[in-house]
Symmetry: C2
Subunit: 229 residues, 2 copies
DNA sequence: GAAAACGAACTTGTATACAAGTATACGCCC
DNA sequence: GGGCGTATACTTGTATACAAGTTCGTTTTC
């Protein structure tokens, strides 16, 4: 367990970045919402400078938009970005799962994945806890196949539709189905069955697109329908 | 053809970023070389502020390392980073090629790929021109399958071993072999043969690892042998 | 002569000041 | 009352000033 040096109001550009990023991903800062470098500086007890550095990184992440001399805004959920992010994540995680199934995983990794599934079953209707456990499950494989820090790459894409997941859980997405798919993926990796593992994961990841387009009806103000733009 | 507003000494954070990035990737700034925010500011005719913003982005790209209060340095070529980047790029481009082969490509894209191969044949021993044509070939597929800007994702990974390619061309890497592989890939996509396309691309991308480890012997000062660290 | 300690000149990180541009609100004119 | 114009209060982008820390050279002392 990592200990934060400053429990409530962390300062320093890196800490500010993490804080704002988490607030966007967890929808405490809503898509389209306006931000102010000055206000954020006041809130974190710093000047604009470290706030600005954090914002610039979030722009690269596609989570914030800066319109010069006009304002800084939390990015709306872009269907185009979701589509691209899903393709990238899917390609990456399918390769990871195939590698895991072909080469096999250490026992510790298997057990960690089991724990993640158990956490998910225990999460019930706590959307955030469910999401954290879901992340944990996927992360186990990325970390275990020995190609270095692959999770950060997945994460950079994932941010684009984490918000979709939070909006949709548990109303739209059938929670039991997701858990069942995780179980199928893990069992296939255990059995060293790469083909089945890939098919299970593929089905698992394809849900997000349907979810996003479904949300377009319920939350049109939060979503940028830019697919045919 | 895009026209740069300022031909020789572009200013503004974004332009500075592009300039420094290109100089690192093209090995005009050597791995391990020390940089100074002040000097760069003088060179671009700006203050440290926009230089700093550019540097922060390059840190995210893994091309620059900043050691607080100690200095800013061009990252050495990390074998670990090369291994990870190759995995990511491979996963992504294989998915792209499969998609292209299964769904087919518009005629314009096919012709553009043909042109890229011709450029490569014409490049001869001009390593930089060869590399640009190589990039162009790969980019055609990323742009053509309709999942948005996938090339920028490939590019962010590619930067890690573009320097390896430049170091190795044409001494280590057999140029004719690379061109032949491009031809095989394009022919397979044309024939809508996803399996062959994938196998050809896979062979094409796997060369980089052997190349990097080979360079470890000839350029030990530029390469960080951190695989077993 | 050698070693240790001090100091000056760098480094990056942050705070503040200024410049250029935009939106809004208020007042004036019709 | 409605519309237009101006002024003011914002915004981000850049420049400069300050703070804290590291490195390296010099000087002093033994």
């Amino acid at each position: 367990m990592r200990v934060r040096r400053t429990p409530t109001v962390p300062s320093g550009a890196a800490a500010i970045y993490e804080t704002i990023r988490a607030e966007i991903v967890h929808m405490r800062l809503m898509p389209g919402e306006r931000l102010s470098e000055n206000e954020l500086g006041l809130r974190f007890g710093t000047s604009r400078t470290p706030v600005r550095e954090a914002i610039l990184r979030l722009v690269d992440d596609g989570l914030i938009e800066v319109r010069p001399q006009r304002g800084t805004f939390v990015s709306r959920i872009s269907l185009k970005a979701v589509k691209r992010a899903r393709f990238v994540r899917s390609a990456l995680e399918l390769a990871i799962i195939r590698e895991a199934a072909e080469r096999g995983l250490p026992r510790a990794a298997i057990e960690e994945a089991e724990r993640a599934i158990a956490d998910q079953q225990a999460a019930g209707n706590d959307a955030r806890r469910f999401k954290d456990a879901d992340d944990h499950f996927h992360r186990v494989f990325a970390d275990a196949i020995g190609f270095g820090d692959l999770w950060s790459v997945v994460e950079s894409q994932k941010a684009q539709f984490d918000r979709v997941r939070l909006l949709s859980l548990p109303d739209v997405t059938p929670v039991a189905l997701l858990i069942g798919q995780h179980r199928a993926i893990l069992d296939a990796v255990r059995a060293r069955d790469a083909g089945t593992a890939e098919r299970s994961l593929s089905a698992h990841l394809s849900i997000i697109v349907e979810t996003a387009t479904a949300l377009l009806r319920t939350h049109p103000d939060l979503i940028d329908d830019d697919l045919n733009a």
